[in-house]
Every structure is written in structure tokens, then in C-alpha cells.
Symmetry: C2
């Protein structure tokens, strides 16, 4: 177990940030940011398509560069930071893992929906055997209880994960929610614990601090919060706040601020902001990536997109179930029509 006050910052700017630009970051943009983050002493830089290795596709978006080229570029830019990649089984395969390891990935993250963690087993074992750091991630973790998450993490630890943890994929948590879950996981496992926030309710930094106080020692963050939906935890805020609270990250502040300025000027067409849609998506506990489809369907059918989000949340819809957006919209439209007719008859 690592020391309580040492936090490893895992920079997802070049992976989760891709969601904000439909996976169109160029190799030159990646190089610029990776060099700056490396110079600031950021310990881990993640790279790839927003949905991870092998995910570039018409379904979730074609990346402008191949996994191979992105990894080669970032690897070359780093002389002190470690390189990480992310993989969702189904999109990626062991072949993708082998390629990433050959290209110098030091950290391999395998993610799965929080209740479907058993799919991570063979990939965690594979990465572990290859001698890289294997990490197991539970997505949409607000849909499971602290005990369920702790049990899942124990299982991933048994599969060989050297770090396990949770993503707040829809930005639903408030700090006390995070404290309960991380404390339950801390109680159950011996390995490092990962926490990853989204900022839908303006809580990304506060939740990450709550996680670190409860025992998480790997925190994900992105420059200027660049990321899906309302964005992620803002790395250049998180780091000095951790320092102020007595945690150590080994990162140099001015260098990190410079890297964030580069991200703002060179990578981000618009800043990550908390819009009305982000807020409703966070309150409803719906995957942030649903935003564009919900908005399109709502406009086409003359329905309030907020009603769709709350209904999707009630139905506990998860990433991959995008088709349900239309079903929900149709049902809401029918209900609205019936209500209108009822009003006319009265």
C-alpha cells in the first residue's frame, strides 16, 4: 500500500478530452500537451480514442489518428511521465493490449460497467503477466452500492489488478457519496484506489478531494477539465488544492499551469462548461455522452430534453443503450399527446 499522503495524478486530457472534440485531436496537439505535462512532472499521461483502444468506429466516432500513431507520438514526448491506455473489452482485444505494451504503455486500464466487472478478468491477467501496471475500473459507479463496488474491486484485485477504482461517469455524486464508496473499497482491498470525476454538478474537484481523504491514491484529472459532457476534474486546480491540504503529487505548479494554458489555446475549441443539459444529466445519473443524441431527438419530436434525461435516469439506462433514447421520447410524446387531448375534452 502506498503512503496515505502521496497521490498519483493520472492525466486523462489526451483520452477523456477526446470526447469533447469527437476524437479529433491531432498528433501535433498530442505532442504539444504531452511534452508540457511531462515537463511539469505529471506522473501518468493517458492517450487514445475517448472510448479507448480499438474503439475508433462509425458507431462512437472515428478518431483522426490510429491508436498506434497516438501512442508512438506520446511515448516519444515523455522522458519522465509514464504512459497509460484505456480499454473497454468488446471494443479492444488482447491484440490491442499487446500492441500498446509493445509501444511502451506502462499502465493498462481495463474498464467495465460497474456490475459487469467479470469481463475485465482475462485482460487484467494478460496485462499483469506482461509486466505492466494493470488497473481495473468500474464505470457508472453511482448505479451500485458501496458494498457492491467494494466486492467488485476485491474481485478485480484477485484478477491481478494493482489498482482498482470507480468512475463517476455521469457526474452524479456529491462529496458524501464519494466518501462512502471509497471508504468501503479502502476497507476491502490492499491495492491502490482510483477515483475519476465528471463536473456536471460542479463537484469534480470537491469529490476528488473527498476521495483522497477517504483513501483514494490515484486521481484522474484533465487540463481545464477537458472531457466528456461538463468535463472532468480540472488538473491544475486539483493539484495545488491537494498540496494545500498536505498531500504530495510531485508536480510543479507553474509548469502545470503552462500545460493547461496550452490545452486551452491549442486543444480546446470551446471551454468545458456546466450547461443546463449537463446539470440535468448529472442529476438524473445518465451517461454524459448521451447529450447530443438526446438533444437531437428532443428537437425532432418537440419534447423537453430534460424530461428525456430524467426518464432515462429512472430507467437506469447505461452507455451502449442509446437506442432507448428514441423509445423514451416516443413514450413521452404519446403521454403528452394524451394529456393535451384530455385537456381539450374538458
Amino acid at each position: 500500500m502506498t503512503k496515505t499522503h502521496q497521490i498519483t495524478i493520472h492525466d486523462s486530457t489526451l483520452r477523456d478530452g477526446q470526447h469533447a472534440v469527437h476524437h479529433q485531436l491531432t498528433l501535433e496537439q498530442m505532442r504539444l500537451y504531452a511534452e508540457a505535462a511531462n515537463a511539469a512532472g505529471v506522473p501518468v499521461i493517458e492517450v487514445g480514442h475517448g472510448n479507448g483502444l480499438g474503439a475508433s468506429s462509425l458507431q462512437v466516432g472515428l478518431a483522426v489518428s490510429s491508436d498506434l500513431d497516438m501512442m508512438k507520438t506520446v511515448r516519444q514526448a515523455l522522458n519522465q511521465s509514464r504512459m497509460a491506455v484505456f480499454m473497454l473489452p468488446g471494443w479492444g482485444t488482447t491484440r490491442d493490449l499487446d500492441q500498446a505494451i509493445a509501444e511502451g504503455a506502462d499502465v493498462i486500464r481495463i474498464g467495465a460497467h460497474c456490475t459487469e466487472y467479470s469481463v475485465t478478468e482475462r485482460y487484467l491477467e494478460h496485462a499483469r503477466k506482461a509486466g505492466v501496471e494493470a488497473q481495473g475500473i468500474l464505470l457508472m459507479s453511482h448505479m451500485a452500492s458501496p458494498k457492491q463496488l467494494a466486492d467488485a474491486c476485491v474481485n478485480m484485485q484477485n484478477y491481478g489488478a494493482q489498482a482498482v477504482g470507480i468512475f463517476d461517469s455521469s457526474g452524479h455524486y456529491l462529496p458524501d457519496d464519494v466518501t462512502k464508496r471509497i471508504a468501503a473499497i479502502r476497507e476491502a482491498v490492499d491495492v491502490s484506489i482510483i477515483y475519476h470525476s465528471h463536473n456536471n454538478l460542479c463537484m469534480a474537484v470537491a469529490n476528488s478531494i473527498a476521495a483522497s481523504k477517504a483513501g483514494a491514491n490515484i486521481l484522474d484529472a484533465c487540463a481545464r477539465g477537458f472531457g466528456a459532457g461538463a468535463g472532468n476534474t480540472q488538473i491544475e486546480v486539483l493539484v495545488p488544492v491537494l498540496h494545500r491540504l498536505g498531500f504530495e503529487t510531485g508536480i510543479e505548479l507553474y509548469g502545470l499551469l503552462d500545460a493547461a494554458d496550452i490545452a486551452e489555446c491549442e486543444l480546446m475549441p470551446t471551454p468545458s462548461t456546466v450547461t443546463s443539459t449537463s446539470i440535468v444529466s448529472g442529476l438524473a445519473g445518465v451517461f454524459s455522452g448521451f447529450k447530443s443524441k438526446v438533444t437531437a431527438v428532443a428537437t425532432e419530436m418537440g419534447i423537453d430534453p430534460r424530461d428525456i434525461f430524467f426518464e432515462l435516469g429512472r430507467l437506469q439506462v447505461i452507455a451502449g443503450q442509446e437506442d432507448l433514447i428514441i423509445d423514451v421520447a416516443l413514450a413521452l410524446s404519446k403521454r403528452q399527446k394524451n394529456a393535451d387531448e384530455q385537456t381539450c375534452q374538458n
Copy 2:
């Protein structure tokens, strides 16, 4: 004393938001937003120049409209919300207060630097005698201890204030800092307690929640966080988060989200974001309004603006002492020059 779980939301969009547009909100913009916030049931709408009554000037910026016209416009837009105005003694006088009361202001806020609260006495008394709600505010409150703030609040209560509280003018606080201060004030006074955040460290909503848990029952917030520097607490996030935690505000969510959308589209040329300068200003505990002058001086003299902010923080510089920015820059420049010469000689 009000019920613990009832929070009065005080909407500063049309007053603190003015800082973000150099006090150039038009009467039509004010009418649009005030009508929407009123329709959503926001209980108090503040209006005026960013620095309050009587502050329109070359020194801090000329507002595009007069105090009188702004108050007339907003008053006419409200049929359920109360109207508030803000005044800093020195800028505003009892004549300004009388005009505001004649124009239908229901709430009069008198602000002062946290250690200079005695200047509020005659204005709080004046407002109280006129039969409006008198509120006393301590600015830059991180520069005083919890005990000093509590003592100041007791004094303002004795001057007649029916609500007293603190502004985190430089966005320096983390939640525990707020909890300690509000708890100390709660212990000392019987009247309502006000808390007002800035978002420099991404903590505006989290700090406001900490304040409400510690006993604050009037929380300031702005649509989309519109406000000085990194912006204020985002009202349309704060309200549903308070509801989720069991607090009541009487505000209707969809109406509030609509009002925030109007603010974003009609009032804000750019969104409030947390830039590197905002972060350094928050860490250093320097008034957010210093940003443009620090940046200009730094550029002219070839100095890192971050060094200026940290030095201003070390010197505990307060609003109104803008002239010190140049002194600090000159001293830093001299120090840098000496260091360079030293390097050349070696």
C-alpha cells in the same frame, strides 16, 4: 431565526455579473433575466453596478445605465421576487440608499472589508429605520479568523442588521474553511447568515453547501456563475443540489434552468471559466478584480503575473489598493534583474 432547512437564494446575476462585462448590462438584458428568475420563484434579485450603488465612475468603470434606471427596470419585472441592492460606504451614501428605497428595494446590503465593519453602522441603522431588510457583509473574509468574523457579525447585528455574513471575494476557501467560519458566526448571532462564494478553486458550489450545513441560510449565486474573475456559485446547480440534500428553496428547477439559458445566451459574451490567473489569484487570496491590471502590468514589464499575485497575497493587499500592483511589479523586476546580473558575473 429561520428554519434550518429553508435556504433563501439571493441572485446576484445582475450585480456581481456586471463585473464580467465591465458594468455594461443593458436595461433590456436586465429585464429579460429578471422576468425569468422571477417566474422561476427566485426569492431575491440583486441589481446594480458591480461595485454597488453610486460606484459608476472612471475609476472602477462607468455603468451603461444609471442606478435609477436599473432599479426601475428590475422592479417592474418582478411580481413575486424581492429586489436587493448592494452598497459600499464611500461609493454610496445615504442619498443613494433613500433613492433605492423609494424605487422599491426590499433588501439593502452594506458591505465593508472584513476588518472595517464599523463603517456599516450608520447605513445599517438607516436602512433598518426605513423598514427594509438590512444586511451586513464582510468582504475578503479569508483575511480574518473565525473569531474576528463572528465578532464583526455580532457588531453588525447590534447595528440593526437582520442578516450578516461573509464573502469569499478571492475564491480562496476550501469547504472546511467555510464550515469553521460559518459555525463560529452561527454560534455568535441570532439573525440570518449570508454566504457568497467565488469559483477560483472550483469550490463555489461545494463551499456553499458546506456553509448551508454549518448554518448559513442565505446563499448568493449567479446564473451560469456569471461574476467577477472565475465567477460565482452557479445558481442552477446550487438549487437542485440543495434540494437533493433536503434543503428547501421554493425555486422551480426547469424555470431556473430556463433563466440560466437566457443568461448564457443574452447576457454573457463568454462563459465564466477557471483560468490559470483565476487559480493563482484564489490560491494567493487576492481580490479577483485585480486580474486585468495585474496582467497588463506583467506584460508591460516582462514579469510573470503569477509572481505578482503571490506577492500581493503575501502583502495582504486588499481591494482599493490597486496602486500596489505597480510597486510589487517594480520590486520583482529589480529582484529579477539582480539575479540575472549575478548569473552573468558567475
